[in-house]
């Protein structure tokens, strides 16, 4: 048995005397060199637990021991040096304007002689693979790169343990993978203990041990091989189990940690009717075009960001726009209703140029990524009314529409008069969508509706949008990083890459071939991954099967 680097004994903590306990009687031992995941929803107390581990917070009851030293004692500086912490938003933790100066910040704090700093900075940058950015302005780095600099800043202090407090939550899939790989490499090379606080099950699956937190308690935990296959247990706490394991269990196989190939292999052994009749194609879409984008160019400076975009959006359709960071997705959304004026080409709404409509911002309405950028009023209901009042409606009419909109997004009735700043992440998102819906748009444009939410929250918002679309007969355009959501909800997918449309087609067509997606630096959705593995084993499924549920249903019928 290795020594425990962190030992938590019956710890309770609450923010303020009357506040509910954020951590409510947790005991946990973390051995040196382990990788441990604390998995839980937003608000489950997992971040608080992380802060207790490096003495940023002191427990109300119980004790936290780090390398044999109590976090309530004299040694907190020693503890903070040994247990480094990387936070969620890289912009809120970097202090200096240049990479090396930022990494030096921690070294200056511990009073290291300046002569020794360069060596440590070189080492830290090398370990995170950022040596070429040694003297770069931090402004110019991507979020993922910034986060690696934050890791380097911790690493320079030569910690025994790194706690990642949702350090990947704001990154795109590529940045997320990059940061994870970096941290796990540090674990395998230098034996640094890693504590990963996250709500991504795929990240949890990388760790040796997984602990699940809910309402301040650890409700489930143990070795990865024990926790992850228990899909029923995970679901009971509202956590979606790893995709391929879940499919396997639903098809009646033993729970285990599977890759797509392994599950495909198991299915192939038991399949009776391997071949489908024929590949069916998408039926022709006869709906009218509501938006037509023609030869659209846009530039912030000299270099255009959008280079000749052509897109058709059918009335009543659900269009997903996918592409990696920097492909021009968000910019494109902002040209749709004239927030940004194109330098070439045009956007047409119902056959007429958008500049011919005075109220185009109302007809094609944008929901931005971060609800904190729009909520400002004293109460939720007032905030939602803002858009309607701007349209010149009377107070009573605005209130009526606002209430309707809040009901439509499923916002809890008892919180209409609450301050929008006291809401949970999911509630804020709903209030923000209601604030747009109140203007009675014809096209709803959403920029990464799931951003910043945990898995359950993402799911709820996606379902909410799907329902709105049906109830209000809306046309929806959604920018997303989630291939799964794109596959499941949309009937039209636009793949953007480098400011150009790589492909526009129905999901089944987009995900049939992975070449375009690879070119755009995107992953296949997991269902499509499994399908392609099955195909290699000679099992073809109908093309329209894109969601997990449909996949399981279809396979069940074919298996003995």
């Amino acid at each position: 048995m290795k020594d425990n680097i962190i030992s938590i004994k019956n710890v309770k903590f609450s923010y303020g005397e009357n506040a509910p306990a954020a951590v409510d009687g947790v005991s946990l031992d973390i051995a040196e060199g382990e990788t441990v995941c604390i998995l839980g929803h937003n608000g489950s107390g997992k971040s608080t637990l992380g802060k207790l581990m490096n003495a940023l917070l002191a427990p109300d009851e119980g004790e936290v021991w780090v390398m044999g030293k109590s976090t309530t004692g004299e040694d907190i500086w020693e503890i903070r040096r040994s247990v480094g912490m990387v936070f969620q938003n890289p912009d809120d933790q970097l202090v200096a304007s240049l990479t090396d100066e930022d990494i030096a910040f921690g070294l200056e704090n511990i009073g290291l002689p300046p002569e020794e700093m360069d060596e440590r900075i070189d080492f830290a940058l090398d370990s995170v693979g950022m040596t070429e950015f040694r003297h770069s302005p931090i402004d110019r780095l991507s979020l993922g790169q910034k986060q690696k600099i934050a890791v380097a800043g911790i690493l320079a202090l030569r910690p025994k343990c790194i706690v990642l407090d949702e350090a990947t939550a704001m990154l795109d899939p590529k940045g997320r993978r990059d940061v994870c790989n970096t941290v796990f490499r540090l674990n395998s090379i230098y034996g640094i203990t890693v504590v990963m606080i996250t709500h991504f099950i795929d990240e949890a699956a990388l760790c040796d041990k997984i602990y699940i937190m809910e309402q301040g308690r650890i409700v489930m935990g143990g070795k990865r091989q024990e926790v992850l296959p228990d899909t029923a247990g995970l679901k009971a706490f509202g956590i979606s189990p790893p995709f391929f394991t879940d499919i396997a269990v639903r098809l009646g196989f033993d729970g285990g940690l599977y890759s797509a190939e392994e599950v495909a292999g198991k299915i192939a052994d038991r399949i009776c009717r391997p071949y489908t009749e024929s590949g069916n194609t998408a039926p022709e879409d006869k709906r009218e075009n509501i938006i037509e984008i023609r030869d659209l160019y846009f530039a912030y400076d000299k270099e255009p960001v959008l280079k000749g975009i052509n897109i058709d959006v059918k009335e009543g359709s659900f269009t997903s726009v996918i592409g990696h960071t920097g492909s021009g997705k968000s910019t494109l959304m902002r040209t749709l209703n004239g927030l940004y004026s194109p330098i070439g080409g045009n956007v047409y709404f119902r056959g007429k140029s958008i500049s011919d409509y005075e109220d185009i911002k109302r007809r094609i309405a944008l929901v931005f990524q971060n609800p904190d950028h729009q909520l400002f009023e004293e109460t939720v209901i007032k905030d939602v009314m803002f858009g309607a009042l701007n349209m010149g409606l009377s107070h009573d009419k605005a209130r009526e529409l606002a209430e309707e909109a809040l009901v439509a997004v499923g916002f809890p009735k008892d919180k209409y008069e609450s301050s929008p700043f006291e809401l949970s992440g999911g509630e804020k998102k709903r209030a923000a969508i209601a604030g747009i819906l109140v203007m009675q748009p014809e096209v709803l444009v959403l920029d990464e509706p799931g951003a910043g939410l945990d898995t359950g929250g993402r799911r709820d918002i996606a379902d909410c949008i799907e329902r709105l679309k049906k109830e209000r007969n809306l046309t929806v355009i959604s920018v997303t990083h989630s291939m799964e959501d794109a596959a499941e909800y949309s009937d039209n997918i636009v793949v953007l890459c480098g400011g150009r449309v790589l492909k526009q087609a129905a999901p089944m067509e987009i995900f049939r071939q992975s070449e375009e997606l690879e070119k755009a630096g995107l992953d296949l959705p997991k269902t499509a991954k499994l399908r392609s593995c099955l195909e290699k084993k000679g099992i073809r499924l109908p093309d329209n099967i894109l969601s997990a549920d449909a996949l399981v249903d279809c396979l069940r019928k074919r298996m003995s």
């Binding site: 704090n109 911002k361 109302r362 309405a365 349209m391």
Partner: protein
């Protein structure tokens, strides 16, 4: 973004390599020189020094000129005030109660030159100096006053952090503006009170986000063992180099020549 003061622009020029203290002293001396100037020969010297600094900095002129755009209103305002309200001198143009004199024109041209060179030189200095270097310089200037109870380290840390967050908050403001615009908010219509009120949807989210950022940042700093100036070392200790000596020499000549022009010619 129209504000160039407070941003850093890397070109690895000679100016970037100078000691920030030398640069700040230079800026101070330069400004003193500008206010000393009263003839067009003096302005010639002042402007050529600025041109030289811009050339040495290798920063595109467009970027420095952009800094003027941010204060264009103040610039225009002072110029207009001086043109219309200077009464001395020969009348050049008269119509109704509007009277423009040659003295007024001369004065406003001077003010225009003064203000714009000041702003451009400040931009050159800030664009070539990182926030941390700047804060270090200020800290070292304040250090002698620490015995009098001036919190030199805290002040410099505050400056560093505020400067570091200016670009972040400006980006954020832009996003908030877009989000509110798409909810039909209008910011530039109506009287003063209406306008001030229409700023609330911008200011409140920005404030709240700043507080949140401050909160996260302080936790992150503490987690990296920050506990004030005591026992802290410096990664880059400021050291004057040969080039700084050249700069000090140059400052001397600069002031000397301005005095020469002013009192001898």
């Amino acid at each position: 973004m129209n504000i160039t003061i407070g941003r850093y622009y890397e070109t690895k020029s000679v100016l970037h390599g100078l000691d920030p203290r030398a640069k700040l002293i230079f800026l101070f001396v330069y400004i003193a020189g500008v206010f000393l100037s009263d003839s067009f020969v003096c302005y010639g010297i002042v402007i050529s020094v600025l041109a030289g600094a811009i050339w040495l900095s290798k920063i595109p002129f467009g970027l420095i000129a952009k800094g003027l755009r941010g204060v264009a209103f103040i610039l225009l305002f002072t110029v207009v005030i001086n043109i219309f309200f200077t009464t001395g001198g020969r009348t050049v143009f008269e119509m109704g109660f509007v009277r423009i004199t040659d003295e007024g024109i001369l004065l406003s041209v001077r003010i225009f030159i003064r203000l714009s060179v000041l702003i451009m030189m400040s931009s050159v200095v800030t664009l070539t100096t990182t926030y941390l270097a700047m804060a270090d310089a200020i800290e070292s200037f304040l250090k002698p006053f620490a015995v009098l109870g001036v919190p030199a380290h805290e002040i410099s840390m505050m400056i560093t952090i505020s400067l570091r967050f200016i670009p972040t908050l400006l980006d954020e403001l832009e996003k908030i503006k877009l989000a509110q615009t798409s909810r039909g908010a209008v910011f530039d219509r109506g009287g003063i009170i209406k306008r001030a009120k229409s700023m609330l949807p911008l200011i409140i989210p920005l404030f709240i986000s700043s507080f949140r950022r401050a909160d996260s940042l302080s936790a992150a700093m503490e987690a990296r063992c920050y506990r004030g100036g005591e026992g802290r070392t410096k990664y880059k200790t400021l050291r004057y180099s040969k080039n700084d000596a050249v700069l000090f020499l140059f400052m001397f000549f600069y002031i000397f020549s301005l005095f020469l022009v002013k009192y001898m010619l």
